[in-house]
Symmetry: C2
Subunit: 406 residues, 2 copies
Amino acid sequence: MRMIKGKTITDVSGIIACGIASGIKKDNKKDLCIIYSKLKATSAAVFTYNKVKAAPVIVNMENIKNDNTQAIVINSGNANSCTGQKGLENARKMIETAAHCLNLLPEEVLVASTGALAAQLPMEVVVPGIKKACGQLSEEAGMDAAEAILSTDTKTKTIAVEFEIEGKKSRIAGMAKGSTMVHPNMGTMLCFMVTDANITKDMLHKALKESVDMSFNMISVDGDTSTSDMVIVLANGASASRQIDTVNEAYKTFSEALNYVAVELAKMIAKDGEGSTKFIEVEVVNARTLQEARTAARAVVSSNLVKCECFGSAVKWSTIACVLGYSSIDMNSENFDIFIGSEKDKVQIVKRALEANYDKALLDSIVSEDFINILIDLKNGESRATAWGCDLTCTYVKANAYLLQS
Amino acid sequence: MRMIKGKTITDVSGIIACGIASGIKKDNKKDLCIIYSKLKATSAAVFTYNKVKAAPVIVNMENIKNDNTQAIVINSGNANSCTGQKGLENARKMIETAAHCLNLLPEEVLVASTGALAAQLPMEVVVPGIKKACGQLSEEAGMDAAEAILSTDTKTKTIAVEFEIEGKKSRIAGMAKGSTMVHPNMGTMLCFMVTDANITKDMLHKALKESVDMSFNMISVDGDTSTSDMVIVLANGASASRQIDTVNEAYKTFSEALNYVAVELAKMIAKDGEGSTKFIEVEVVNARTLQEARTAARAVVSSNLVKCECFGSAVKWSTIACVLGYSSIDMNSENFDIFIGSEKDKVQIVKRALEANYDKALLDSIVSEDFINILIDLKNGESRATAWGCDLTCTYVKANAYLLQS
């Protein structure tokens, strides 16, 4: 597997895209994106488990069942969530407009929205925007597309990789936006991946589900799960490799590449969390089960106290021990080890559930860096998991208290 | 039922107490408390579910089984948590010292500690402190006792009530300390209640369990459950009322008074949350089950986003709807109402899952007050629950990032 330099979704054969400013956002910022596959494509998706679902989620849950998915239309600046019947009509109108321009059936198009909640979409700019966007699809606009789906993200989040299946080259690329707040309301995690691999819908869904569990389900910015979260993957088979229709070597190769892309995009989201100053990685090893490893890693990275301590470069082992204790895993509270590391160094701060003898100056220097790795050895099994997050800062509090508005 | 003005634990017949400065805390602050019942007493307790349990919790889980519990010895300034074998020895030494002075068996004494984690108790001041404290037990020292258990709490938390069982007066009093941070580590929720009612150990435990579920288990400061949390009740029968040994009218009267005391103390803890500027109450009505009502109320009061929005006096209905959606309850996402109220006013902000037509200036004035009530009508059952919490502020973040230390 190798990284593709351009690293956008249009680096995948048969994929064109665009990102334009339609007028939903102020200041001529890009706010409308279309992803289009020239060939018929298989799709799979994972949607938010939130029972209050945004209109695009409800509409997509139907359309994802279709055998062919050739386009995704996405707007930022308005989440079309908590918008009732009118919101559903608007989501369907977005799909119909794109389908008409691209000569597709409505059920061959998916839709996503991110931005303010509880406000109706300004359809008077959205509809002309979609028409204009359809005319600007190109192989060069991958980065424009990645920019058009952002809300208060400070960076675009894209990646593309190439790998071989039975000697034939395939690619997977993806773009994402983070779970950060959007004026005047909460944000959303969106991710769109495309591949030219040839894979059945069932196998694509299985691979996506597994990759989401180890990537997007392992990041935490603030513990609040949005009404709009979705991860979609399109596979158009342009690479002409043999179809993956069962769990074989080709599936494993594909799955590995998809996991890599998903994990890297998830980490980019965690790094760019609202108001964050530090990127936190929590690895749990030797847990009893994979589920317990994931639960423990997620609990530590989600703890407000751990996040505050990382912000202040003052990580306490007793706080981490306390979080493990309430995380509901079956741990041996008298035998676990904890290590804290940075890019360069690592120190063992806990040995057999008690403070280890370590160099305090070295620990201080490690936790002062903007990447903090917390490694927890539970010593009661063989499973491992990693979770990612960011620190909790005054900027986060102020932003979400609407105290940063000018 | 009526409130007792003195409102301390020593307002209950047969209970004496003290609170002294032993030297665990700096600046001659009170840090050692003893609660003593002149008569033999029945006890019940609920302990933290955290698997990493502080030494006093482990020791008490044994001693609580004893038929007679006549004293509780409590220190602040050090939580005796994450302290291993040495910590257990120190907790037992505290009990033995108090038992010896008070002419009790060790198993007739309980122990509690709150303050810094991962540091051994300074037994050279704790042991003489306990001896001194035993000589200062009195009916006048109820407020000293309440003060000696505090960590960074800004206020003592005490209450006492009187009620009648079959024409005989009984009292229940309690004192608590909050879940706020202690330099240099996380805090603890402790509550000690005493009553002169006459009740069997089984019935006392049943009543305590029920009251904790609707009080201390319904408050959230930061979602981090301490290693040391405990709620203890002693019943010494001094009121000479008939023994409560089954669920009858007398049990109900007792239980109601205990619930009242527990809820009021829990609310005092929520109000005094670390760095808080607002007290938040979330009432959920017409839920399918009691469990779902509690889950929903707790989810809303625990949400970082809701807490930030309360801090900024900028509560959004879509945030509350989003939290309900991910809370795991079985809700009808197309039919729920939300009201926001203060001491004086109330407005309906959501009607049938969509924004209601309301006076925005009135809402702004309501959410600017320091008490915010959020009432959620789920309209799919008959159960109700209330949860309490506080806002999330920059002061909380800075305190727990150790950025407020001088």
